[in-house]
Structures are given as structure tokens and as C-alpha cells.
């Protein structure tokens, strides 16, 4: 249930693969886009939780899960997979309880992208576990 806690923030093997397979400029732009994706999807999740809307919550974590796993951000991707399971059962209250850990996991990912602590100043005022 909490396997994401043992997962690496970034899997070195995936990072190495991406560095091998992509043009350096492309990779830099993709990681910049991922930083934006984290903030926007987290914002969408926060709004969905605040409004009690299951489907947008599910969509936000599904989208962020895919983006994170593709880029090797396993801790965030695996946590999103867990949140998606909760959303699928309609248990938004459980997601709200996990919100501080989700925010910390997002910030750990942002930290690896060189942008720590930017995403959640607004969101944490919307979602109060």
C-alpha cells in the first residue's frame, strides 16, 4: 500500500536511458515541461479535492502518474498510482489525508529538477487535511 515510500525519487537507470536516447536540448525542455506538469496537475487535484469531484481527481493523478513514470520519477509515479486507486473507489477523504505527503513527494521531484518548493503555496491553502 505504501510501496512508493521505498521507491527512488528518480531512477538512475531511466535517467541514463533518457540521456542516451534524447537530444540534450529536447531532454532539458521535457524536464522543464514536467516541472510545469507537476504544478498544474497538483493544482487540478487540489481543486478536485476541494470540490469533492472524483473524476477530475482521477484524471489529474492518472496524468501525473504516466508523466512521472515515463521520466523515471518513480516515487511520485507510484504514489499517484495509489492515489488513483483511492480516487477510483471514490475515497477522496483518504487522498486529502495523504495530501501533505503528496506535496512533499512533488517537492522532492521538483528538487531533483532544480526547482524545489515552488508548486504548493497556493494548493496547500485549498486542501486542508
Amino acid at each position: 500500500m505504501t510501496a512508493w515510500r521505498q521507491a527512488p525519487v528518480v531512477a538512475d537507470a531511466v535517467a541514463a536511458e533518457l540521456a542516451r536516447d534524447l537530444d540534450p536540448e529536447d531532454l532539458s525542455q521535457i524536464l522543464d515541461a514536467f516541472r510545469v506538469d507537476i504544478g498544474s496537475r497538483a493544482g487540478e487535484l487540489a481543486m478536485a479535492l476541494a470540490g469533492g469531484h472524483v473524476e477530475p481527481a482521477q484524471r489529474a493523478v492518472h496524468s501525473l502518474k504516466g508523466a512521472a513514470l515515463n521520466l523515471g520519477f518513480f516515487r511520485l509515479g507510484q504514489m499517484c498510482a495509489h492515489l488513483q486507486q483511492l480516487a477510483q473507489t471514490g475515497d477522496l477523504a483518504a487522498i486529502v489525508v495523504l495530501w501533505p505527503e503528496f506535496a512533499a513527494t512533488c517537492n522532492d521531484s521538483l528538487g531533483r529538477l532544480g526547482h524545489s518548493g515552488l508548486a504548493f503555496e497556493i494548493d496547500s491553502s485549498i486542501v486542508r487535511p
Binding site: 536511458e17 531532454l27 521535457i30 514536467f34 484524471r59 492518472h62 504516466g66 508523466a67 515515463n70
Partner: protein
């Protein structure tokens, strides 16, 4: 990855147009970047099925291969697959998705999907799907 296969893929992609449909920008850019790395020179990107159809109509260019996410707002991958196969049966359609359970695969096949890439994807998994839809034998 087999270098001969990648060479064949690169040759096949030089005169092909590809359409990437994915609502998350980093994933969309990642697929496009990997395709360019494999030798594709004509890659168009769209954010969902509606955007994909609009780009096809606006550019009067039917893609040879579509690589498409399944779960998207506005128009999902399955609906885009259905519409494209109805209007342009020759288009090769690769679904990229976490939906890998048998029911989902069967459903996509019923709608005419040509290839399947499980997420998270990699250069290798995209190469294998391209080889399948382009009719390149994997040695």
C-alpha cells in the same frame, strides 16, 4: 536494441509523417523527442483527439502513423481511433496506455488498433511497435 532494426526504422521513418496525441505536455514532448531520435523528421503533436482531427484537417496531411494516449479529456484515444479508421483506414494507429488488461487490448483491437505500447514506455518499446506497424521484421 538491435542496431540493424533501428537503421531499418530510421530509413522507414524518413518519408513518413507521424502524429503524437497526448494530453500531458512532458509525455507528448518525450514521445516526439524519442521519435526524432529514431530518425523521424515529420512529427506533429496534438493535445487530444479533437486537436488531432483539427490538425489533420487544417494541414490537409493524413499521418502515416498515429501514436496516441488512451485516457485524454475531450476526445479519448479510442474515439480518435474509431474516427480515424473510419475516414482513413490506411493510418497505422499505436495506442500508448497503462490499460494493458486483456479486456482493454481486445476492445482496442475491435476498433482496429495496429500496435500497442504499455506505459511507462521506452525507446525500445516504441521501436518495437513501430517495427510492427511498418512491417519491419524484428530479427
Amino acid at each position: 536494441m538491435n542496431q540493424d532494426l533501428e537503421k531499418l526504422i530510421a530509413e522507414a521513418l524518413t518519408n513518413k509523417s507521424l502524429l503524437v496525441v497526448e494530453d500531458t505536455s512532458s509525455s507528448r514532448m518525450l514521445v516526439a523527442g524519442l521519435l526524432r531520435g529514431l530518425g523521424a523528421t515529420r512529427v506533429v503533436a496534438a493535445v487530444d483527439g479533437v486537436d488531432a482531427l483539427a490538425k489533420i484537417q487544417a494541414q490537409h496531411l493524413v499521418p502515416d502513423v498515429v501514436l496516441c494516449d488512451w485516457v485524454m479529456p475531450n476526445m479519448d484515444g479510442l474515439e480518435l481511433l474509431t474516427r480515424l479508421k473510419a475516414d482513413y483506414p490506411a493510418v497505422k494507429f499505436i495506442m500508448m496506455t497503462v490499460k494493458t488488461e486483456a479486456e482493454a487490448v481486445i476492445l482496442a483491437r475491435k476498433h482496429g488498433v495496429d500496435g500497442y505500447v504499455a506505459k511507462p514506455f521506452s525507446r525500445e518499446s516504441i521501436t518495437a511497435a513501430l517495427a510492427k506497424v511498418l512491417g519491419i521484421a524484428v530479427g
